[in-house]
Symmetry: C2
Subunit: 442 residues, 2 copies
C-alpha cells in the first residue's frame, strides 16, 4: 500500500529533519475574538484537510490532524509567522484541553462500568507490565548513553518512559470504529490505572532523589500513601456518584424546565469529575472518561422517552468542534528544530525504541487467546503530557548542582513523545483491521 | 400572575439598589484549566437553575440566566469573591462571545434569505424610525439634565441610544419558539440594518466633534463613504458566498472523508463571516446571523441524504453548551454599586425611558395590520455593547478639556443598558403570546 509508505516515509523524514515541544510555561498571551476566530478557521480547515488526506491513505484521521498541525506549526521556518500567536494563546489551549476532555467523555459514554469490570484484572496486569518493562529499558538506555551520570538520573529517565497518554489511542479507536472491542476496553482500563501508577512513581522517584540530596532519612512513604488514598478516593467517589448521585440527579434534572437540560447535566458531571481528577493530581481526561463511564442510557430514560437525542448524539457535535483543536495544536507544538542535533537524535532514537518495545510487554499480560494482544501493546505506546511533566520536573531537580534531566535528555524525551504519538495511529489501525481480516477469513 | 409580579418586583428592587457594567478594557487574566472548569460548572449550573426558575414564572429562560448571573456577580458585596476571577478571564469571555455567535448562527439557520427579503422594506423603515426617535429623545434628556453642556454632548448621548443589540431579543424569540413569525423576521432584519446605521452615526458624530475641536473643515464624508462601501461590500460578499460559494463548498466538502464534515464546514462559514463583519466594524453576531441565513438545507442535501443530522440539530448542542455562558456572564458583569448614586439614577431612569419609548417609534414603521407592531417595538428595545462602545469613545473624546461623556453620564448609560436588557424578555414574551391568544380566539 503506497499510502502507508508515504506515512512511514513522512515519519522517517520528520525524524531526520531539524529543541522544544509543547508550550513553555510562559504566562501565555490572550488573543482578542477576531484572532481566535481566525485561529479556529485555520485549525478546523487544516484538521479536515489533514484528516481527509490520511483517510485517503487508509490512515486514521487523527494522524492527518497531527501531521498538518506539524506543517503549519513549522511554517515559521520559512518565514511565515502568522501561526505563532496561536501556539501560546491561553484560550486556544483551553479549547484544545476541553476538546480532549470531550473526546474521553465520548469514549466513556460508549463504554459501561460493567464492561470495564470484565477486563479489570487484565487491564491491571497490562498497566503493571507496561510500566515495569519501559522503566528498566529506559534505565538501561540512560546508563549506556550517560555512563558518567548518577544512578538517580537513570531511574528518572526510566520513570519518564512509564506513563501511557491515552488521548491518541482513544481517538484512533474512535476513528476506526473499534471502541466496542475487548482490546479497546483493556487499553482504556490500563490507561486509567497507568495514570494512577505514574503519580505514585513520580512521588517515589522525587522522594528518592530528595533523600539522596539531603542525605536524610527517606520518609516519602507518607506521600505515597496520600496519593494512593486520593486515587482510591477518586475511584470510590466516581462509583458513588455513578450508583447513587447520577440516578437522583437525572430524576431532579428531568423536572427542570428549559431546553438542553440533559446535555448540560452530563457536561456538569463531566467537568466535575475532570476537575476532581486534576485536583488530586490525575489527568483531567481520566476524570472525563470516568464521567462518561458512569453515565448510562438507563439513567436518563425519562429524557429519551420524551424524544430527546441520546447523550452520544448530543456530545458528538461539541467533539466535532473542539476535539480537532487538541490534535492540530499538539502537532503545531512540535518544533522541527528539535530534530537538528545528531547526538540527541541518536539518544532519542534509542530511547524511543525502548519506549515502544517496553510497552510491548503489555501483550504478555493478555492471556486470553481470543484477544489481539499486539493491538493492546501498540495501543499503550503513546507517551504525552505525563512524560513531559516528568522530564520538566527532572530538569528542575538537581543532584550535586547538575540537573537530573539535562537539556539534551529533555530534548530526547520530547522527540520520544512526538514519535510514539505519530507511530501509534497507523500501527494500531493496521493491527486491529488485519485482525478483522483474519477473523473473517476463518 | 404572581410570576410576573415577582420579576417586575425584582427588577424594581435592582433599580433601587447600590459604578460600572461590562469588563473594563484591562488586559484580562488567563485562568488555568481547572479554574475554567470550575467556572463552567458554576455558570452552567446557575444558567439552568435561573432558566428553570423563570420558566416556572412563565418568563423566558434567558431572563433567569441574566438575573442569576447578576446575583453571583454581586456576591462580592457580601464578601464572597470566588466569582471575581471569572469576570476578567479572557477565555471565559471568548467562550461567551462564541456562545452568542453560535446563537445568532442558529437563529440565522432557522431563517431564509427569501423570508428576509419579504420583510426587507419594513425592516429598513423599522431600523430608521428606531434610530431617529431615540436619538432626538436622548438629545432632549441630555439637554434637560446637563443644560450647561455643549450641544455636542447632547448629540453624543442621543447617538448612544440608537443601536439595538439583538442578542437578547433573538434568544427570547428562540426560547418561546417564535422565530418563524413575521415580527421576528422584521426585528432581525432591522437589527442588521441598525448595526450598519450605528457605525455610520458613530463616524458622523465623532467627525463633527473632531471638527468642532480642531476648528477645521469637516471632511468626514469620506469616512462615511468608506463605511457605507464596507457595509455594502459585506452584504454583497455574504450574498455571493451564499449563492455561489456555498453550493460549491458543499459539493467539495461532501467528497471529504472523515466525520463531522458538514458541521465543520458550517462552522467555518459562520466564523469566517463573523470575523469579516468584525473586521469592517460591524458586530461579529451580524456576520454569524448572515452565515446562518445563507446556509440552506437544499445545499447540503448530499449529507442529509446519507442520514446525517440537519445543521440545526448539529449546532444546537454547541449552543446548549456555550450560549448560556454569554448571558450569565452578561449578568455577572452588572455591578449593583452602579445603582448607588441618586442623581445618576434619576438621569439614568429618564434616559432609559427615552431609550424604551424611542424604540416604540419602530411600531409606526410597521404598516401591515396583521403584524403585531408592538412586539416589533419591544423587540428593538435592548441596548448592549454598541451603546457601551459609544459611551466609551465619548468618555475618551474631549471638548475644551472636558470629556464628552462624563463619568456620571457613562454610569447612566450602563444602567440604561442593564434595564433595557432585563425589561425586554418579559415584555416581548407577553406581547407575542398575548397575540397568539388573540389569534386563537378569533
Amino acid at each position: 500500500m503506497t499510502g502507508r509508505n508515504i506515512i512511514w516515509g513522512t515519519i522517517f523524514v520528520l525524524i531526520f529533519l531539524p529543541n522544544s515541544l509543547l508550550a513553555s510555561e510562559s504566562p501565555g498571551t490572550a488573543l482578542e475574538l477576531p484572532s481566535i476566530l481566525w485561529g479556529l478557521i485555520i485549525i478546523l480547515l487544516v484538521a479536515k484537510l489533514g484528516g481527509h488526506f490520511m483517510e485517503k491513505l487508509h490512515q486514521p484521521a487523527v494522524l492527518g490532524e497531527l501531521l498538518f498541525g506539524i506543517i503549519i506549526g513549522n511554517l515559521y521556518l520559512f518565514g511565515a509567522t502568522f501561526i505563532e500567536p496561536l501556539k501560546d494563546d491561553r484560550t486556544i489551549e483551553v479549547l484544545a484541553e476541553l476538546g480532549v476532555i470531550i473526546l474521553l467523555f465520548e469514549v466513556g459514554l460508549e463504554t459501561s462500568v460493567h464492561e470495564m469490570k470484565k477486563v479489570g484484572m487484565t487491564s491491571t496486569l497490562v498497566a503493571l507490565f507496561g510500566i515495569i518493562a519501559p522503566f528498566f529499558l529506559g534505565w538501561g538506555v540512560s546508563a549506556i548513553f550517560m555512563p558518567e551520570a548518577s544512578i538517580y538520573v537513570h531511574i528518572f529517565i526510566g520513570a519518564t518512559l512509564t506513563a501511557t497518554s491515552v488521548g491518541i489511542t482513544a481517538r484512533v479507536l474512535k476513528d476506526i470504529g473499534k471502541l466496542q472491542v475487548r482490546e479497546s476496553k483493556i487499553i482504556l482500563g490500563a490507561a486509567v490505572i497507568d495514570d494512577i501508577l505514574g503519580l505514585i512513581i513520580l512521588a517515589v522517584v522525587v522522594g528518592i532523589i530528595d533523600t539522596a540530596n539531603m542525605g536524610g532519612g527517606g520518609t516519602n512513604y507518607i506521600d505515597i500513601l496520600v496519593i494512593l488514598a486520593k486515587a482510591l478516593g477518586f475511584i470510590i467517589a466516581a462509583l458513588l456518584i455513578g450508583n447513587w448521585v447520577i440516578p437522583r440527579l437525572f430524576k431532579v434534572s428531568a423536572q427542570i424546565k428549559g431546553s438542553g437540560v440533559l446535555l448540560t447535566t452530563a457536561l456538569l458531571v463531566c467537568f466535575l469529575l475532570a476537575v476532581l481528577a486534576e485536583k488530586i493530581g490525575l489527568a483531567a481526561i481520566v476524570g472525563a472518561f470516568a464521567a462518561g463511564l458512569i453515565l448510562d442510557k438507563l439513567q436518563y430514560r425519562s429524557f429519551t422517552d420524551r424524544g430527546e437525542h441520546s447523550l452520544e448524539e448530543l456530545v458528538a457535535p461539541i467533539g466535532t468542534f473542539l476535539t480537532p483543536i487538541f490534535f492540530v495544536k499538539m502537532g503545531m507544538m512540535v518544533d522541527l528544530r528539535t530534530f537538528a542535533n545528531v547526538d540527541i537524535l541518536l539518544f532519542a532514537a534509542v530511547m524511543t525504541a525502548a519506549a515502544i518495545v517496553g510497552k510491548q510487554a503489555c501483550s504478555l499480560a493478555v492471556w486470553d487467546r481470543q484477544t489481539n494482544r499486539w493491538a493492546v501493546g501498540l495501543g499503550m505506546i503513546p507517551r504525552g503530557e505525563v512524560g513531559l511533566i516528568f522530564a520538566g520536573i527532572g530538569a528542575k531537580l538537581a543532584i550535586g548542582g547538575t540537573p537530573v534531566v539535562s537539556a539534551g535528555a529533555y530534548s530526547a524525551v520530547v522527540i520520544m513523545v512526538i514519535i510514539t504519538t505519530l507511530v501509534t495511529p497507523p500501527a494500531l489501525k493496521y493491527s486491529l483491521l488485519r485482525d478483522r481480516k483474519k477473523i473473517t477469513e476463518e
